[in-house]
Symmetry: none
Subunit: 192 residues, 4 copies
DNA sequence: GATGAATGAGTATTCATTCAT
DNA sequence: CATGAATGAATACTCATTCAT
């Protein structure tokens, strides 16, 4: 017999993200999803309970990959705080740029009829490292006072907006310039 | 589509926004929409062509109201530029807070399959005043260099994020404190 | 608008019974059911929740009609007990013969995956009159001792078997002869 | 279909009967059947053509076992006819009680779409002995006149109903008391 | 052979739109 | 015009059967 396949799981995730990007959440049809993933419609149900299970699973997967990426992003060898923040922002911007579909997906799912009671905690976990970085800066008197969690969200939205604006409206590619503007704007918001 | 009864149109808009808030765009069913608006399902088709027509009409309406609000927002009597920016941001924050559902709706519609080729121009129109304010600051050497349009989007996303974070995650009410933080963060990003 | 139609409800019941007779419970397809009832597939869902709801509703309806028939069946003017029992059995046999499809349906549904927790009570209600007749006979010393409920079931099975055997295996029509045999056999079981 | 492993065939029969008892014929899924029989889904197709083949095979097997049992049931040493009938009814009641699932299965299959044109003859074969017993009684003037085949069916339904009523509705165990009632009722129907 | 994942035709169900009242 | 029942195409999901391992 054929073994349940990690590659198929991966293919389904990829297909879901692509389809969401192309047609929006509501536009996802199981048959199309299967075709895009290169499997039969019925096979989707070997891997997932139903449509909602696919969407929530993709959400979970994509979030955890994001968290993993941000966790591993090293900022250690930088000497000063500002430099470390900017390095981190640069890495985060790279990640956002490379994972636009995933980020769009999470965003759309959040406000969809498929999202039932997903806890806010999930999101927080994902930002733990960023949060700690902000708190460190506040403790060192280098960062503006204020709720660090809120600040993290603001930073997040700035970076996503800059990249989205560039790619969606200006049809431009993500480049060093946008990357630098991310650093600039974020640092402007943070610094005391 | 011409209107036969202004009140019904209003009810349909309100119902659309509420439903979008509750279940997301994909969760809007004509029957539910009608019920929420207090009319019969079939009557929706007296006022609108089809579902897409409703969504696009609500979008148009809500956008034009937003633009009208921002247009009318006066900043004239303030003496200095920073003060005028902050006054404006405060007013904008008030508007965002008072129209969260509408803003969510626009946001979701933007990336939905219902939105066919709505031009980016619409959005620009809406931000014309903000844009001019930023450009004025740049000309006066008070505002950081950079694409003003991009800056407007960044400002916009900061304000929306601050208010959304407060209301959604902290379940807190919009108040003077959030309003002030909007001003602070925005000015931090703008100022040279 | 069109009013929800009692006739359609009736048509669906009839179609369900016919289809069950023709193809068995498992052979009922919503599309075919709708066609047989002369309505659109989707309309089934105007009248019922889902397939199971149709089956359980038909069950309920058919049972209550049976109970109503047996309730109304008069035996009053007969002078002696044996005569009254035989009159009643004759009427019941007429009913069974005229409602074979309904009886088959109830029987099949009983042991189907659609039947969840239908209580035994339903069945008892339906037999109340028969039960009282048996008890009356026992009190008068005319009927054999024993659990009256059990006796009612035995009587029921005898009548159904006689009629089914005649119609199914012998392809014969229900007639006075079978009717009389019902009376004979039942009375043989009952009499002391 | 030839057998490769007698034990597996036995397991499949048992699983089929259990499943039919639990969920009815329509509720039998190949995957569940396989799980219950302790083999893989695909293996079912090593032993049988398809689903219908399983059901008909189980039917055949179960019927032949029943016939074998009734054939072997001896009534020879009883002196008088009534005693022999009662002995036989007692044995038959024992058999019915011990094979409720099989009997339900046969009953349901009979009226299902799986049963194509299984001849009525099969059933007759199975009742040959009972039939002869009744005919003997009629010839001896001890049994009521009437179609012996019909009488056999009536007897059969009485016994099954008594046992089913006891076990299903009263949750009681089959015991000497029920056994005796079977004899009583049957003899009441038969005797002239 | 045995296994259970893969397949896809077949079905139940949804829901935008139409239409009789 | 308003109503909400009726429609049926569109879609999610099931499950007998096949087949790669």
């Amino acid at each position: 017999m054929r073994l349940k396949d990690e590659q198929k799981f991966e293919a389904i995730i990829r297909a879901t993200l692509e389809l969401t990007h192309e047609k929006g959440l509501a536009g996802i049809k199981m048959s199309e999803l299967a075709r895009k993933a290169g499997i039969a419609t019925g096979s989707l149900y070997t891997y997932f309970e139903d449509k909602q299970d696919i969407l929530l699973s993709v959400d979970r997967e994509v979030r955890s990959r994001g968290a993993a990426y941000l966790m591993q992003a090293s900022t250690d060898d930088e000497e000063n705080y500002e430099g470390r923040v900017k390095t981190y922002v640069g890495q985060y911007a790279d990640f956002v740029s490379a994972n636009r579909e995933a980020i769009l997906f999470i965003d759309l799912l959040q406000r969809s009829p498929f999202m039932t009671e997903r806890s806010y905690q999930d999101t927080v976990d994902q930002y733990r490292f960023t949060l700690e970085l902000v708190e460190e800066g506040q403790n060192a008197g280098l960062v503006r006072e204020g709720d660090p969690e809120e600040m993290v969200h603001v930073i997040d939205s700035i970076i996503k907006m800059l990249i989205d604006h560039r790619q969606t409206h200006l049809k431009g590619a993500y480049d060093e310039e946008v990357r630098n503007r991310c650093k600039e704007y974020v640092w402007a918001v943070l610094k005391k």
